[in-house]
Assembly symmetry: C2
Homo-oligomer: 195 residues x 2
């Protein structure tokens, strides 16, 4: 059940097996049905999640009442409302399963306890955060080029997430790319013609 996570942890740092067992023992397991929220705005959110299986999206609801998809997360990634988690605030975003999903969660309290008890764990987490930070910076690099056309943004997504393109429903992908669903539909048509 925890194979993917264990592999993930072992790749990232030289934790003792006993420490890994310790960490895994505190995890809560949840199954989320497609279209259900894993986390909703306003909820207390003192945990981070590991997506063992499935696919999900982050979204916020803007002033006009529209859902804006701001992030897509595929299996074997950590996710959650990092800001709410770290600041002890309630969630400012919603996380919805786009496929039936299988997740593990760890609380803030447990995480802090492990920082004290397992120094190598704190180092590992620091490195994990560094990597996620870099990912975020890369995303900014791309999105901030919003002078880029809709086509260029879609192409870029195709290149960097080839496997997600067909898993993420068009409405959410268009929202993620910041374009109208109709526009994305037309772009796709163009592409299949050319290719």
């Amino acid at each position: 059940m925890f194979n993917a996570l264990i592999k993930n942890l072992k790749q990232r740092g030289a934790l003792a097996d006993a420490d890994i067992d310790k960490i895994i023992s505190v995890l809560k397991v949840r199954h989320i049905k497609k279209k259900k929220n894993i986390l909703s705005e306003g909820e207390q959110s003192n945990f981070m999640f590991f997506l063992n299986e499935g696919l999900c999206r982050y979204y916020v609801i803007d002033e006009k009442g529209n859902e804006q998809t701001i992030e897509l997360v595929a299996e074997h990634n950590w996710f959650g409302d990092a800001k709410a988690f770290l600041a002890g605030e309630t969630a400012r975003l919603n996380i919805e399963a786009l496929e039936d999903s299988h997740i593990f969660s760890i609380t803030h309290a447990d995480l802090n306890r492990f920082y004290d008890e397992i120094p190598l764990f704190e180092r590992m987490v620091r490195k994990i955060i560094e990597q996620y930070f870099i990912k975020a910076l890369e995303r900014i690099k791309k999105v901030s080029r919003s002078s880029y056309s809709a086509q260029e943004r879609y192409k870029e997504f195709l290149k960097s997430h080839p496997k997600l393109v067909n898993r993420v429903p068009l409405v959410y992908l268009s929202s993620y790319l910041g374009i109208a669903p109709e526009t994305l539909s037309r772009l796709r048509q163009q592409f299949t013609k050319t290719a």
Copy 2:
């Protein structure tokens, strides 16, 4: 000379004065003239910087040869090409001083040494990275709403960076916001009329 940085470090964690001295003793000080690059694409970049005084921007050059401003950094912030720094790669972005600037730099080697020698320092850096990560996520939240109009993006910037609006030249600000300089100019005109 290091007052701002010392204050910054003390706010972030309970480091011993001796440790702070140790950290400061390895810093290199540089003065950068306005319009000069602090870091250029392709350069080795095994240091991070603390901006003691001044203002700078990150930019990349796209396929069309246009500069795209992707980040703005004001004084008393850490900055650098985090990806290149952490992965030991050469820089993929340029950092230019928009005002005469005054910076300190720390090498990757020194940082890693301090992680081992000063456990509280590693914890502090973890927290700093967490904060910068959250900042990056908030930026994504905003920019990914690029379905938002140019006006809305400018308003948002006004609200979140009121002090920068008049320090950053229009061309760079427009590039940062992902809109044409002419469009930004017209937006400003509208705003001054209304207000």
